[in-house]
Amino acid sequence: MNKILLKRTLAPQVGLIEIDAPDISKKALAGQFVVLRIHDHGERIPLTIADADPSKGTITIVFQKIGASTRLLDTLEQGDCILDLLGPLGKPAHIENAGTVVCIGGGVGIAEIYPVAKAYKKAGNRVISVLGARNKDLIIFADEIAKVSDECHITTDDGSLGQKGLVSDVLKDIMGREKVSLVSAVGPTIMMKVISDITKPYNIKTYVSLNPIMLDATGMCGVCRVTIAGKVKFACVDGPEFDGHEVDFAELMSRQKLFLDEEKKAVEVHCSDENPNCRCKK
């Protein structure tokens, strides 16, 4: 069950795994996610489904090694099995034929915008993709996304690939030259906030995929609660995608930091150089 059929390193801190998960692959739609657990002391962590192939019965997950759990995930190799894998969870991304859709992915969010861009293309839209990261090593999935886009722009903070600057600069350029019907963005919370702020005055519908802390991810615990248009919603069952103009981003960013100290502690204990039991790759 849940065997890793393929593993690749996409960038220094970014890994890709293709998992044998026939039931999930048949149901997964763009924007949905899974929750997984690696060992019986492990956390339940939510990860977006970057791709699903029902004919092969596989799903693809892209993850960034940030915390202890994602580092441990990276210690699994081809042939290993994921202990627990639940999904697909969350509501699928809103897809419609709107006209011109700008799909924006930042950092590891690039992998997550891929199925969304693909779905918008399939729905008959003109798809303009904008991918951004700190440097060229962190630009992932560019070929795949280019294939499903009419235009694909790349930005890096240091200018090592594509345009030097931020995805928001490119969005402004695009909005300056043509009519944008809809924007969909996945990436760091601050990026999604900036993009929502840019499109709001122009009343361009903007969807963002939120990534608050989750536990069960089935609506049971409420830790993922976010304020949307003044109302409390659970990102795991009501989202994770919401109208960016209605999201209380300040609250979300504050809630994402709730366990920062503990996350550092877990890395120290489970992934330190001194720890002889550490199973992370150095």
Partner: protein, 473 residues
Amino acid sequence: MRNKPRLRDPNERGKDFNEVSMGYSPEQAKEEASRCIQCKNPQCVKGCPVNIDIPAFIKQIVGGDPRAALSKIKEKNNLPAVCGRVCPQEDQCEKMCILGKKGEPIAIGYLERFASDHGNVPAPTTANNAGSVPIVGTIHELSLQNNLDKTRIAVVGAGPAGLTCAADLARAGYSVTLFESLHGPGGVLSYGIPEFRLPKKIVHDEVEYIKSLGVDIRYNTIIGGTFTIKELFAQGYKAVFLGSGAGLPKFMNIPGENLGGVYSANEFLTRVNLLKAYLFPEYMTPVRIGRKVAVIGGGNVAMDSARSALRLGAEKVTIVYRRSKDEMPARIEEADNALEEGIEFRILTSPVKILGDAKGRVTSMECIKMELGEKDSSGRRSFIPLKGSEYILETDTVIMAIGQSPNPLIGNSCSELKREKWGGVIADPETGQTSIPGVFAGGDIVTGAATVISAMGAGKKAAEAIDRYIKGL
């Protein structure tokens, strides 16, 4: 005189998660059981949602045979070690006990616990029973093999309702698959009720027993996500039982509820019980417990949260409840245990707003005092806020234990399934029949948050109804 169970010292037990009650000794159990007058028309049985033959099992304890007592209980109840610990017997069987009219009722709950703790032993081999199949436990693989040509039934949710329904259907000869969204069994028995009140080893053993009846449990499978109800029928299941519980936590909708340090009881207890955050960082899920913890609510979940917070090292734990102690829905026993452990009850008090610092973390809570009014529709006295009585309670952690609504995932994926406005699945109280033929429901998903035993009762009734439905009766 009713025998009191042995409890661990409050000062000692408040520091760890080991079980608080040690139950009866064999001598105590025998003495307590001997008080039963073996009524010809036993009222206690009528008070039991699963109709255990209570006098019969008590008689076996008098006779010094807890194994026979356990077998008697298991004729009706698949989770006796759980029920002996968490059932509100004082409102059910013991409330009906004839001895309670003039004195104290038989401690049926403690005796049930005694039978399950001491009765799970192999049968002594005698000339009469040599070679006979033991009643407690069979071979899992054998049963699974036999299942191949049986009618298949899908049960959703491995909590009290689902486990009971699955076990009864398996015993009635069906091939039962039990779908569970979490990575382990038990539902609220695992994520909700803490170790010190219900050791997880007990839940594990009871689930092993249910598996031994031939029930196949599939974890990490969410109905409404991985499969829909329609797909279950397409896969060959002839009937479906929904027992997915009341998972969705309620909040008060007061300012400050999304500050850091405010947990739903579900989140707090799931971190601690299911994911063992009290063993962080060895277990990787953290929980942050402040110095001063306020728990909002007066039910068993509030008591469990408060007592867990204490064990995690909080200096001061306060239960904030809007009515008086008499109106608290928690079992008296659990409220008394909490008080004994040093938890403060701030009754006739309700939060108005939660205040935080620049980092978005809780610093205090504004409360208002209440007074009691006339009885309301719930049969309890209502509460009226006292204007101008607002005051600040210092706290850095707030746990909301004010109830749960049914989990909406299944209903959202199946528009034919009729639900109440508040989210509960509409089902016949006697059979569990829902608006869809072949689909039955029971437990908290129908009633909203209630008790373990009422969910088990509903699972039992539904199993009988499913049997009749399949047989076309």
